[in-house]
């Protein structure tokens, strides 16, 4: 009987092996069944701390004419501090999607890194925040690359940051089972596509393909001999070789174009071009080059508000212009047009009460210290009419920062594959058809 039982079990196991579904690289059985709303998401963090008074409530006039309808003129007291920008034409962004005017950064300190971390992980940072460490919860990039089916390479996930500091750490987390293997390509274009970057990286030795093959073969031999010491992820995320070549070509082309002066005034706005606009410009280059499925780009020049309220208002206008330019680029990019959802949200707001610093136009500056007003933000979801509810304004308190990650997961169709309990928010279903 024992022998017969063994044979029966062995036969079942063998049959099961043939019948079992393919185990995906992510360790998950079966391909994802979640249907997608769109094949691309661009999250633009309208960051630096934007108060709803100046954005949604137009306390200083309509500082976001490319996003918001209305022709409220800018407060004459600060008009002298506004740089020249083109005027909007055609539909405003809010008319091309759904605007949550009373969104909330409900918990955690209203700090820039805390806010970015919340937007990218779907979890508020409630304990001590160590800016030298990677997030404790997986980022949206890791959820996407681990749970999307088929598994996508890093070329499909980009985190384009306007500064260095702690922000490079947001392309993957320290959460067990996630990490560098599923992280995004991080780039800080302002540092790498720059004169110091060019001096460091702009004149490489160009090897022939056959020479690179020899190098690869030798390196593999050496790596095999060192395999017991090496831990995957020690060098951050890894692009597969074919895609690393594409990225290298992209960077080298960017150097060439920068040297040729093509980046001196790329949007034709002259001296009005600030760091945020440049960061969005570089994100657009990446979008045009690689058509990623998931792109996150941020802007933070608005944070001059700690010492310069009028400069803050001026930079809100520039961020508004950059956001609209980003959407135009997406719509002009084959493969992204009509198949992309653009989400824009500040990481947090600013205090109700000003500090004591007065600017040249007689306006007091604002900090962000977690008062109730600094938790009041907006969220804009823009997309094609067959996917996103058009011209919808939700003026009641609806939605939180932690809802951004579930919304992205819903759009890209892997929401149901994220293990339960990992996300505390819910997707912004009101925005979608």
């Amino acid at each position: 009987m024992q022998r017969r039982g063994f044979i029966k079990k062995a036969a079942l196991a063998t049959a099961g092996a043939f019948a079992a579904p393919y185990i995906l690289p992510s360790g998950r059985l079966f391909a994802a069944t979640g249907s997608r709303i769109a094949n691309h998401v661009v999250l633009c963090l309208f960051a630096g701390g934007v108060r709803n008074f100046e954005s949604m409530q137009k306390a200083e006039g309509n500082l976001m004419p490319f996003t918001l309808t209305g022709n409220e003129s800018i407060n004459p007291q600060i008009i002298g501090g506004m740089d020249a920008l083109p005027s909007p034409s055609g539909q405003r962004l809010q008319q091309q999607g759904t605007l949550f005017k009373e969104f909330r950064f409900a918990q955690g300190p209203t700090g820039h890194f805390s806010g970015h971390s919340t937007a990218l992980t779907g979890q508020y940072v409630l304990g001590d925040l160590n800016i030298k460490q990677r997030p404790t919860y997986p980022t949206v990039f890791e959820y996407y690359r681990k749970h999307n089916s088929p598994s996508m390479s890093a070329l499909n996930a980009w985190w384009v940051a306007n500064t260095l500091g702690p922000y490079p750490a947001l392309n993957f987390s320290q959460y067990p089972g996630y990490g560098a293997e599923f992280g995004a390509n991080f780039i800080q274009p302002g540092s790498i596509i720059s004169i110091p970057g060019y001096n460091s990286l702009g004149d490489p030795k160009n090897f022939e393909a056959a020479q690179l093959d020899k190098v690869k073969s030798l390196r593999q031999f050496m790596d095999n001999n060192f395999s017991s010491n090496y831990t995957p992820g020690d060098a951050g995320i890894t692009n597969i070789e074919e895609e690393a070549i594409l990225i290298e070509n992209y960077i080298n082309n960017s150097f060439d174009e920068a040297v040729a002066g093509q980046y001196d005034n790329p949007w034709g706005v002259g001296n009005s071009m600030n760091g945020d606009m440049y960061n969005v410009f570089f994100a657009e280059q990446i979008i045009k080059q690689f058509k990623p499925e998931l792109t996150v780009v941020n802007m933070q020049d608005i944070d001059v508000c700690h010492t310069n309220f009028t400069g803050y208002c001026n930079n809100i206008r520039k961020s508004d212009y950059a956001l609209a330019h980003l959407w135009q680029t997406i719509q002009a990019t084959p493969g992204m047009a009509n198949d992309t959802i653009l989400i824009s949200v500040p990481e947090h707001g600013r205090n109700e009460e000003p500090n004591t610093i007065l600017d040249a136009y007689g306006k007091y500056a604002l900090d962000h210290n977690s008062d109730e007003v600094s938790r009041q933000i907006f969220c804009l979801v823009v997309g094609p009419p067959d996917k996103v509810v058009q011209n919808q304004v939700i003026s009641t308190v609806t939605g939180e920062s932690v809802d951004v990650v579930p919304t992205i997961a819903k759009v890209l169709g892997f929401h149901n594959d994220i293990p339960g309990g990992m996300l505390s928010g819910t997707s912004l279903d009101q925005a979608f058809i």
């Binding site: 460091s200 190098v215 060192f226």
Partner: protein
């Protein structure tokens, strides 16, 4: 117990030998820098910091210390991209394209391949190659006359082991 006096002449000799064997060894210093030779894969649990990687790579290729200004620029470029292995390759490629780089000529390598490999392992990995590594790379060099010292340097400096100490 009887003593055999026929062998008494041997005793002083044994005494001299015993005493001389206890003599403190003299340390001779020949002016050669001490090199800590380790087994492959042993005692390299740490990843080099950005600062360390760039500084050592520069010294290994140029035989001198990198300037502070160049180090700052390279560190910034290094931090600006998330795939560190990728950016390391770009840094090394730029170093290799610099006129001041110090790489043996092909003829020097071919004159003593074994010594070239040993020197390269000590230079980049801080250890001698084991017999298998020596044999394998010797064979590669012998089989392919287009395999230059520059390519071997590039492979070693972009290998995983070079990132560890």
């Amino acid at each position: 117990m009887k003593l055999n006096y026929k062998n008494c002449g041997i005793l002083p000799l044994l005494l001299v030998l015993v005493l001389s064997s206890c003599k403190k060894e003299t340390d001779f210093i020949y002016g050669v820098t001490d090199i800590d030779i380790q087994k492959p894969d042993a005692n390299k649990p740490n990843v080099k910091s950005t600062f360390t990687f760039i500084s050592i790579a520069y010294s290994d290729l140029f035989g001198t210390t990198i300037s502070q200004a160049q180090l700052v620029d390279l560190q910034t470029a290094y931090a600006s991209f998330g795939d560190q292995r990728f950016i390391e390759q770009m840094i090394i490629k730029n170093f290799l394209n610099d006129g001041g780089v110090d790489i043996p000529l092909q003829s020097e390598m071919n004159a003593d391949v074994e010594q070239f490999i040993k020197d390269s392992y000590v230079k980049f990995f801080n250890r001698l190659p084991n017999e298998f590594e020596l044999w394998h790379i010797e064979n590669e060099i012998a089989a392919d006359p287009t395999l230059t010292p520059e390519l071997i340097y590039f492979a070693m400096m972009t290998s995983n082991e070079y990132r560890y100490y």
